[in-house]
């Protein structure tokens, strides 16, 4: 029983990471109807930046904050410089550009920092909180951070004028432009937010999976699975999907197929959901008019 509970809760913690990553994917999907294949590598890059700052003596939370801000700026710049010119291009061109970005981030990090696996510090204390024997403090910390990020995102979109403008720009660009919203900048902001959220996912994952340039490809796959399962246009769904995928991955890995082929769980979830219920558990059903 205690093994089961342990698997369950550590799955929940990893699920938190997937949830944050899925949230970043949903941000971009909502704004531009694109799935950012480079999200994982962008997060990985950000995590290396954070590692670098801590290595040179910055305290954890300072490095954390600085990384989030820098990621935000990088996301905005990427949208303006690389993604914008392809706004009217077909999906294939966009996917190819994303793959190009995956290559660039991956190899630049490999070039600068090398391929040795690095330790990444957790901001949470060694000792488990409140005598919790089932979860380490990092695991509970990740879950807290997940909900914090979700609350911030929700608050931003629900209660700030800027959030409202971004929602409007995503839903109806033409009308938004008519009422004076700078739609182009809203998209760039969306990319910035997604990059910032992604960097948090990277920093939360790194103490568990360790830091190396290829750490994100499998995490991103679970993030995709989470986003697809929860409905790729629904932030709440993405977070729920993240936790479900995390727990499922651990339980299926531990009791059904063995940890060796856990990635296939994500493959099965993605294909299964897309085939049976493409809108996901909580997504809006889209009807296309022909």
């Amino acid at each position: 029983m205690s093994t089961f509970a342990h698997q369950f809760f550590s799955g929940l913690a990893m699920g938190g990471v997937y949830a944050i990553l899925a949230l970043a994917l949903v941000m971009i999907y909502q704004a531009t109807h694109l799935v950012n294949f480079a999200q994982g590598e962008m997060a990985m890059f950000a995590t290396y930046m954070a590692w670098n700052m801590m290595d040179s003596g910055l305290p954890y939370w300072a490095a954390f904050g600085l990384t989030v801000v820098l990621s935000f700026a990088a996301g905005v710049i990427i949208e303006r410089v690389i993604v914008r010119p392809f706004a009217k291009a077909p999906v294939l061109s966009m996917v190819i550009v994303f793959i190009g970005m995956v290559f660039i981030f991956n190899s630049v990090v490999g070039w600068i920092y090398g391929y040795e696996i690095k330790d990444f510090r957790s901001p949470f204390p060694e000792k488990a909180w409140f005598g919790n024997t089932l979860m380490s403090s990092h695991e509970s910390g990740v879950i807290v951070v997940t909900f914090l990020v979700l609350a911030l995102v929700y608050g931003f979109f629900r209660f700030t004028p800027l959030g409202l403008a971004m929602r409007a720009a995503a839903q109806n660009p033409a009308s938004s432009r008519l009422v004076g919203i700078k739609v182009g900048w809203m998209l760039a902001l969306g990319w910035g937010l997604a990059a910032a959220i992604g960097s948090i996912a990277g920093m939360m994952a790194a103490p568990v999976v360790y830091l190396d340039p290829n750490m994100m490809s499998s995490l991103l796959l679970y993030g995709f699975a989470a986003a697809v399962l929860g409905g790729i246009d629904n932030p709440w769904g993405a977070v729920a999907g993240g936790f479900i995928v995390g727990v499922m991955q651990n339980l299926v890995g531990a009791y059904l197929v063995g940890t060796q082929i856990q990635l296939s769980v994500a493959l099965v979830i993605i294909i299964g959901v897309l085939v049976m219920k493409p809108s996901g558990l909580f997504g809006r059903v889209i009807v296309t008019r022909v």
Binding site: H33, L34, V35, F37, I82, P85, F86, K88, A89, P90, V91, L92, S93, V95, I96, V97, I99, G100, M101, V102, F103, I104, F105, N106, S107, V108, V109, G110, W111, I112, Y113, G114, Y115, P213, S217, S218, L221, F224, A225, V228, G258, Q260, I261, Q262, L263, S264, A266, L267, I270, I271, L274, V275, P278, V290
Partner: protein, 344 residues
């Protein structure tokens, strides 16, 4: 600017056919002379270029002509390679009968994967195939398949020599062996895209609703296209395993699938001959970049991938039809020039 070409299934016949013939003849002569000009490792690399080219043609049929994005063709390359290796190592078959069988296995696998994929449009298909590419190495490593696949250690195969006492080296023979398959499959692909099915494929890519109205069986063509495309990748994988003589799960990671995508974009979406260039690119550019960057230290071996990335994005900006598109444009201009001089 950055939009994909709405390429015609039928190449422009009137314009540059003369130059096209000349180009083809040059390529054939070059391909036949090549093994007697170089040897050993270089020859192995040229053979590998041909195998990649076969896989790229398959991917291009699917992505370029039919508009279904696959980020997971490395997985079918792997299935073909493993099918061939298992047939040789575990069932004692001669290596030269395995490519067609591996191709058939992949045809079925691709068709089956294509069936659910029918319901997925553009981006979602990219997602599903991306998942396939990421999960494939783990699946090949699965311990319950160890008896067949050899687990993480993989399978070792003997390098075949030239048959019938031909007076050529083993490397030369393997090159010609791959060249034969490549020629056959290139020809088949060319005929396929020029025919009725090819037009149906392009029509589905550009105007699915109109195509359906005109009586094109969309689901059948799409699923079959997926199957044929996987067949090409499978044959390429089988040939590649024969010449490498070794197969393991790590040879078929996500980056293989992604470099196939690089190959078709560089070579030219909706071009069959361009795939030769695409394959040359993904086989040799890492080597050249390696040599260039060796002065920058150990970690610089990562840089070829950055070159790939920058090139991918740059090509999408300036040359969305790849090298083949640029060559076609130049040939057309040349033809116009010669026509003008004739008339004058």
């Amino acid at each position: 600017m950055s939009t994909l070409p709405t390429a015609k299934a039928e190449p422009e016949r009137s314009g540059f056919i003369g130059w096209g013939r000349v180009g083809l003849a040059c390529v054939v002569v070059f391909a036949l002379v090549l093994p007697f000009m170089s040897s050993g490792y270089h020859l192995f690399q040229y053979a590998q270029v041909l195998n990649y080219a076969i896989a790229l043609v398959g991917l291009n049929l699917l992505t370029g002509y039919n508009g279904q994005i696959s980020l997971g063709h490395g997985a079918f390359f792997a299935i073909g390679g493993y099918a061939s290796a298992i047939l040789v190592a575990k069932f004692g078959m001669p290596y030269w009968v395995t490519p067609p069988i591996a191709g058939m296995v992949c045809l079925v696998a691709g068709f089956l994967f294509g069936l659910p994929a029918l319901r997925l449009e553009g981006l979602y298909l990219a997602l599903a195939t991306f998942a396939l590419a990421v999960a494939m190495p783990q699946l090949l490593n699965y311990k319950h398949f160890d008896a067949l696949t050899g687990g993480s250690g993989g399978l070792q195969l003997a390098k075949p020599g030239a048959p019938f006492g031909l007076p050529i080296t083993s490397d030369q023979w393997l090159y010609f062996y791959c060249l034969g398959f490549a020629a056959l499959l290139f020809l088949a692909a060319r005929n396929l895209v020029r025919g009725r099915i090819g037009r149906a494929m392009v029509a589905i890519r550009d105007q699915p609703v109109a195509a359906e109205t005109m009586g094109v069986p969309i689901s059948y063509v799409k699923a079959m296209c997926f199957g044929i495309s996987a067949l090409y990748a499978g044959v390429g994988g089988a040939l590649s395993v024969t010449i490498v003589g070794y197969v393991s799960p790590d040879s078929f990671g996500l980056f293989l699938s992604l470099s196939f995508l690089v190959g078709i974009v560089v070579g030219g979406l909706t071009s069959i001959p361009g795939m030769l260039f695409g394959a040359w690119f993904i086989e040799f550019v890492p080597n050249y970049a390696d040599q260039l960057t060796s002065s920058l230290g150990e970690n610089a071996k990562a840089l070829p991938w950055a070159v790939y990335g920058v090139l991918l994005i740059a090509l999408m900006f300036v040359m969305p039809r790849g090298i083949a598109g640029a060559v076609t444009a130049m040939a057309a201009r040349l033809q116009r020039f010669t026509n003008a001089t004739k008339r004058a």
